[in-house]
């Protein structure tokens, strides 16, 4: 009972943030609403017992990615008069409803088993580390993540350098 109440409150905050992202008139407000939604997702992780994921969510998404978005926004020569253009797309709510129904059916039919109390064990730092550094488990993907980060870093610097040279 208490759990579902907490879940519904947090979900309301996340949805409010998500709606704020698409409805905000100024792009800066949209980024702030995105931060709210991402923090709410971190709270959902906490209620599921996945505290490590919650910390990652705050550290990387709410902390890092949102800061990156803010800097990228401030790079633009956006004047204060910039407003979202009026839209005539009536299809948007329809497609959103269809997507929600499909997602709901998928979740309902997939039969996700509730982890219950085991979630805090599976999602703990120790067990995640045990999977990453276990030679039989995810060592190679872990190193590939390093290569992926390297590629992302080099690519972004290359593109930004080309842009700045203009």
């Amino acid at each position: 009972m208490m759990d579902s109440l907490v879940f519904f409150i947090i979900s309301a905050v996340v949805i409010a943030g998500a709606v704020g992202v698409v409805m905000a008139e100024r792009i800066f407000h949209a980024v702030l609403a995105l931060a709210l939604a991402l923090l709410g997702v971190a709270a959902v992780f906490v209620t599921l017992g996945a505290e490590f994921l919650a910390v990652i969510q705050v550290l990387v998404y709410a902390g890092g990615v949102v800061v990156l978005f803010l800097f990228a926004t401030m790079l633009t020569k956006s004047d204060l008069q910039l407003k979202r253009p009026p839209r005539g797309d009536e299809l948007a709510p329809v497609s959103a409803v269809i997507f929600a129904i499909v997602a709901l059916f998928y979740v309902a039919s997939s039969g996700f088993a509730s982890l219950g109390e085991r979630a805090s064990v599976i999602g703990s730092v120790g067990s995640v580390g045990g999977l990453i550094f276990n030679p039989q488990a995810y060592v190679i993907p872990f190193e590939l993540v390093g290569l992926l980060l390297l590629a992302a870093m080099v690519g972004a610097i290359f593109l930004a350098k080309k842009e700045a040279a203009k």
Binding site: T47, L68, G130, F133, F142, L149, L150
Partner: protein, 125 residues
Amino acid sequence: MSVGEQYITIALFVIVGAIFPVLTIFVASLLRKPRTPEPQKYLTYECSVLPFGPAWVQHNVEYYMYALLFVIFDVETVFLYPWAMTYRSFGLFATVEVIIFIAVLALGLAYAWKKGALEWMRGWR
């Protein structure tokens, strides 16, 4: 309640933090009557200097480069933490893995350094 009891403190903190600014602004609006609007009152307060220009100035690309590198090494830190927690059970093997991981990312840092992404306000080489 499967949620840890210690999170009640954080939840209270968030709730109080959300209510506090709203409440103070509401109380201030009660206190500042009578209401006599004047154009000077709506100026942005800036230490006795008249504000000029928009608050939105275009930032330099250096800020973006720093944010970008921050995100990358943020993710690196996320991976170092589980390694520190499981160091005792995996020992040398995991340490070698992490050293390779850090070395790969150090290559990226060296590239950024060489390209002058860490230089401040000096343009690009």
